[in-house]
């Protein structure tokens, strides 16, 4: 079905450039000028994708982006399971993000674990007028009374907090003192800050630095004996269990994972992370800040890895092992060998069904590049990709390690652009989010949600790749896509026989 397979790279480039010119025509002049900088056709050998990024979205264009609150509460902090995260402000933000991200965890919800709950200060008009600090103080008291096993509290600011001048830091300090140094973290992640979720990640990282790391007493006794093989998983949110199917590989190669950030994570794990010998970083975008901080302050090196698909997994296991001794290096080889038969079987089963199929992606975080290898392991080709809230360093990594010559690149794509691109390129699969899913399915284009794994997963690790391969196959090869056109519409009109 794809046009790309039959065209030369030069033809593809020309077509993609023309496509960009076409979509820009719909905009008023000022907007066209701004959007033009976010759209490009990748040229092999360039150090980045040639697009501007991490700039303000344009009003009225239907951006897919979210906000800083989504980046902090929704992504970074929300999964920390033994802390209570207060959505501080009106009811909506917490409501719409309630349990929507599938951050799996083990624990007794409502008793010692709180991830899939919605704690909110449910601001009313009087809180806006008179300020919400007193209410916040009372909320902390009520949490302490009703949820005594919580290990800490975070305050996730919604838009009004920063606008009405509340002092949540002061409340946090007072209450922390009152409850014997309890960890209470104010987070300034108001939704209007920055241009997307991305600043929320950064603010959340900084809050860990300032309100967790800086409060851990240097004399505090470690709860476990350190080993030379201690690592921390950074930037895995355990969506559908991703961090678990990753952790198991690290442990099988002989490493010990002392912390998970932040899927299925706990306060104790955050606090213990500076004891790691290496931070392994999956989602660079959302957690490079804290990794750099730990490198500077504690001298912990960090290493980016990619656990999507066997090629990248093997490459990553070896890269991680290179920070350790031969025992670990041998461990990595053992793990790769152990899973080889499974990978061979998965590829033997699914590759013939997926070979040559084309994919267009638009996702957040690391996925616009990280999943490309997994598709390629299945013989598929990513012909377009873009980041919801990437920065230039994401596009550099993408250009240097992942995309092919001629790939269409679209940063902070608008609803209109994405529809036109897909309509013209006709990929065999689109991978994006819930807001895009039904748009493309209506168009008859197979789709997988690549934020929530479409309620499937895990997709990380060897165990996850089997699920990934099956899911892509069932999306693309579902018999339903043959039924989108009514047969009487397809049929050529029979010519009338001339009457005798």
């Amino acid at each position: 079905m794809s046009l790309a397979t039959t065209e030369s790279v030069a033809e593809i480039k020309a077509r993609n450039k023309q496509l960009i010119d076409e979509v820009l025509k719909v905009y008023p002049e000022k907007t066209a000028k701004r959007r033009a900088k976010h759209l490009n056709v990748h040229e092999a050998g360039k150090s980045d994708c040639g697009v501007k990024s991490n700039l303000k979205s344009i009003p009225g264009v239907m951006t897919i982006r979210g906000c800083a609150y989504a980046g902090s509460k929704g992504v970074v902090w929300g999964p920390i399971k033994d802390m209570i995260h207060i959505s501080h402000g009106p009811v909506g933000c917490g409501q719409y993000s309630w349990a929507a991200r599938r951050n799996y965890y083990i624990g007794t919800t409502g008793i010692d674990t709180f991830v899939t709950m919605q704690f909110t200060s449910d601001f009313q008009e009087k809180d806006i007028v008179f300020g919400g600090d007193k209410k916040l103080a009372k909320i902390i008291d009520e949490i302490q009374e009703l949820f005594p096993l919580n290990h800490g509290i975070t305050i996730q600011s919604e838009c009004p907090i920063g606008l009405i001048g509340d002092d949540i830091e002061a409340v946090s300090k007072v209450k922390s003192k009152e409850y014997d140094g309890k960890t209470i973290v104010p987070v300034r992640c108001e939704g209007f800050r920055g241009v997307s979720q991305s600043l929320g990640h950064h603010i959340a990282n900084d809050a860990v630095r300032d309100w967790i790391f800086d409060k851990v007493s240097p004399e505090a006794k470690p709860t476990f004996e350190a080993t030379p093989y201690d690592v921390a998983i950074i930037g895995d949110y355990n969506i559908g269990g991703d961090a678990w199917s990753s952790r198991i590989l690290l442990e099988e190669m002989g490493l010990r994972v002392i912390a998970q950030w932040s899927g299925d994570g706990s306060l104790a794990e955050l606090e213990a992370t500076p004891k790691a010998k290496l931070n392994v970083l999956h989602c660079y975008r959302s957690m490079n800040y804290i990794s750099r901080h730990m490198e500077e302050k504690f001298g912990i090196p960090w290493c980016e890895y990619n656990f999507f698909g066997p090629s990248k997994i093997a490459e990553s296991l070896r890269k991680i092992a290179s920070f350790f001794d031969d025992k670990i290096k041998e461990g990595a080889e053992r793990v790769i060998a152990k899973y080889q038969p499974l990978m061979d079987a998965v590829i033997a089963k699914y590759r013939p069904r997926l070979e040559g199929k084309t994919v267009m992606l638009f996702v957040g975080g690391l996925r616009p590049r990280h999943v490309i290898g997994a598709y390629e392991d299945l013989g598929m080709e990513v012909v377009g990709t873009g980041y919801e809230f990437g920065h230039n360093d994401d596009y550099q990594r993408t250009a240097q390690h992942y995309v092919k010559d001629g790939t269409l690149i679209y940063d902070d794509v608008t609803g209109y652009e994405f529809e036109r691109f897909v309509e013209k390129i006709q990929p065999d699969l689109v991978g994006s989010g819930i807001k895009e899913k039904y748009v493309f399915q209506k168009m008859g284009v197979p789709f997988r949600q690549m934020h929530s794994w479409d309620y499937s997963g895990p997709y990380h690790g060897y165990d996850g790749f089997a699920i990934f391969a099956r899911d892509m196959d069932m999306a693309i090869n579902s018999p339903i896509w043959k039924k989108t056109k009514a047969p009487w519409k397809d049929a050529p009109r029979p010519s009338l026989m001339a009457a005798e």
Binding site: K56, I58, A70, G89, I139, R193, S266, E269, M443, G444
Partner: protein
């Protein structure tokens, strides 16, 4: 259990394998600083007690697991119910991403909506430029017939004036002067999504009827005998509005559905994405002023809109999400009275069939206790239906219900012997409900998807009726209004009751003597 290419294990099987179980146990023991399991168990039991309930109900500041959303969601829901209309929410962009996701997760449909993407500079200087650029972009890109503006709390806190901003935008040429841009202020810190529905609908009607913000003459009402219908914020809007149209047509009533989003939330998969589909035409929205009467299916969704309409000379009538025999009788008799049209024979037969079905199955529902939560009107409608089935709606909780709602519920309870031990809980949340279910257990719980946490914790079987329903598919396609809708609700309740009886009687040689083939 290890992963397998032939039979790929999903998350719910994969992680139960011994290697993962061991890994997770080690993680907990070594690194999570867990509480003593005995202590966890003690607190878990304590949280079930009347003592805990008392503390829980003494909460004054903290809200835990509320069953309500914020105003702009309701505004977006209204806006997409008009022909070719794109909702435009003035304020932070993240909010719009949330509304779209929320609606898409429930309806399994696209949800189109734009934002003015205000950021820190707009917080300081106001969002006028965002409005000017935003309207121009939306107009050019998505070619709407109307752009309906509402606000996020950010724009409300800084006090942006929509009327003035839209006027200025038109002067600057963002959209043509005569292009329809109705608006409503929808602060998230007042009321809930039902309030937003009310404000947005009133804003649109005001726009068309009262002179388009001073840019056109006000319309003169010339009564034409038609009936306007307002559904309110309704997770079953697709099924319900279609059912209502069928009823109107059976009775030969000329009608206008206001904010008819039944098509846009149910578009076909045929190769074409329809950003807009169906909806109340703008002409009909304007001409709705000439109607004889306006009917609202949900009083608490139209607390401002209905008086506004009554002020234009309409007879108005409000219902409370009518479900079942008597509530539908009232609805149809009101229609008949207003229009002078008799209730159609076909509907009379449908009524008889619903009564027939209720009589057939009543023995299984009679005397059963239910807890219900949801929007105030839905709670009322379901409680009334349960009462006529001889069931007891023991706990009826509405986070966005107020005192007046509770009084209305009390009057309903007082009207039936089955309402004797029933209570309404206005302004409470699902953590309150948890205490109620532990301390005063009921047989079944009715609520939205989030009720599954209560089902898990308290063991009360959940019947999913409400909004949102994320984890079951397509229920929104089936009406709950009209006698046919009542039938759907009845069957949904009965299915759960029978499933539970089967579940409780299926242990071979222990309980399966009651595993009856005929029930």
């Amino acid at each position: 259990m290890t992963q397998n290419a032939e039979h790929v294990l999903d998350h719910f099987e994969l992680f139960r394998g011994p290697e993962y179980q061991q890994m997770l146990a080690n993680k907990k023991a070594l690194f999570e600083n867990p509480h003593d399991p005995v202590e966890v168990e003690r607190i878990r039991e304590w949280a079930k007690t009347p003592e805990y309930r008392e503390k829980n109900f003494a909460r004054e500041a903290l809200t835990v697991n509320p069953a309500k959303a914020c105003q702009p969601l309701g505004a977006v829901f209204v806006a997409v119910g008009f022909e070719g209309t794109l909702p435009f929410v003035h304020g932070s962009q993240g909010c719009v991403a949330y509304y779209r996701s929320h609606l898409s997760r429930h309806f399994k449909e696209p949800s189109s909506c734009v934002s003015s993407s205000m950021t820190e500079d707009a917080a300081v200087f106001g969002g006028l430029n965002n409005m000017i650029d935003g309207l121009a972009n939306t107009y050019n890109m998505y070619k709407p017939k109307m752009i309906a503006v509402s606000t996020t709390c950010m724009a409300e806190v800084i006090g942006d004036d929509l009327n003035a901003f839209i006027k200025t935008s038109k002067e600057k040429g963002s959209v043509p002067a005569e292009f329809d841009v109705p608006f409503a202020h929808t602060p998230a810190f007042v009321g809930s999504h039902v309030t937003g529905y009310d404000n947005a609908l009133k804003g649109i009607l005001e726009h068309f009827w009262d002179g388009k913000a001073g840019t056109a003459p006000k319309l003169e009402r010339k009564e034409n005998g038609k009936v306007n219908f307002i559904g309110g914020f309704d997770g079953y809007t697709v099924g319900n509005i279609r059912e209502i149209k069928r009823i109107f047509e059976l009775m030969g009533i000329e009608y206008t559905i206001l904010a008819d989003n039944s098509d846009v939330f149910d578009t076909p998969t045929d190769g074409e994405f329809r950003m807009y589909d169906g909806g109340t035409t703008l002409e009909d929205a304007a001409n709705a002023i000439h109607a004889k009467a306006t009917i609202s299916m949900q009083q608490y969704c139209t607390e401002k809109t209905l008086p506004f309409i009554a002020g234009h000379g309409h007879e108005v009538a409000a219902f409370n999400h009518p479900v079942g025999v008597s509530a539908t009788d009232d609805f149809l008799m009101t229609l008949s009275r207003i229009t002078g049209k008799p209730i159609a024979k076909a509907l009379e037969q449908e009524r008889g069939r619903l009564v027939d079905a209720m009589a057939d199955s009543s023995a299984h529902i009679h005397g059963k206790k239910f807890a219900i939560y949801g929007d105030p009107d839905l709670c009322y409608g379901l409680a009334a239906f349960l009462l006529e089935l001889g069931a007891e709606p023991t706990h009826v909780l509405s986070t966005n219900g107020n005192k007046a709602w509770a009084e209305k519920m009390d009057a309903l309870f007082a009207s039936s012997p089955f309402g004797k031990n029933c209570h309404a809980y206005p302004g409470k949340d699902l953590w309150h409900m948890r205490s109620l279910l532990f301390t005063e257990p009921v047989d079944f719980l009715i609520g939205n998807t989030y009720g599954k946490y209560l089902e898990r914790d308290t063991g009360t079987p959940l019947i999913r009726i409400g909004f949102p329903v994320f984890d079951r598919h397509h229920h929104h396609r089936y009406p709950v209004w009209g006698y046919q809708g009542g039938m759907n609700v009845l069957v949904k309740i009965l299915d759960k009751i029978f499933d539970e009886i089967d579940k409780n009687t299926n242990v071979p040689a222990k309980t399966d003597y009651s595993f009856d083939i005929i029930r």
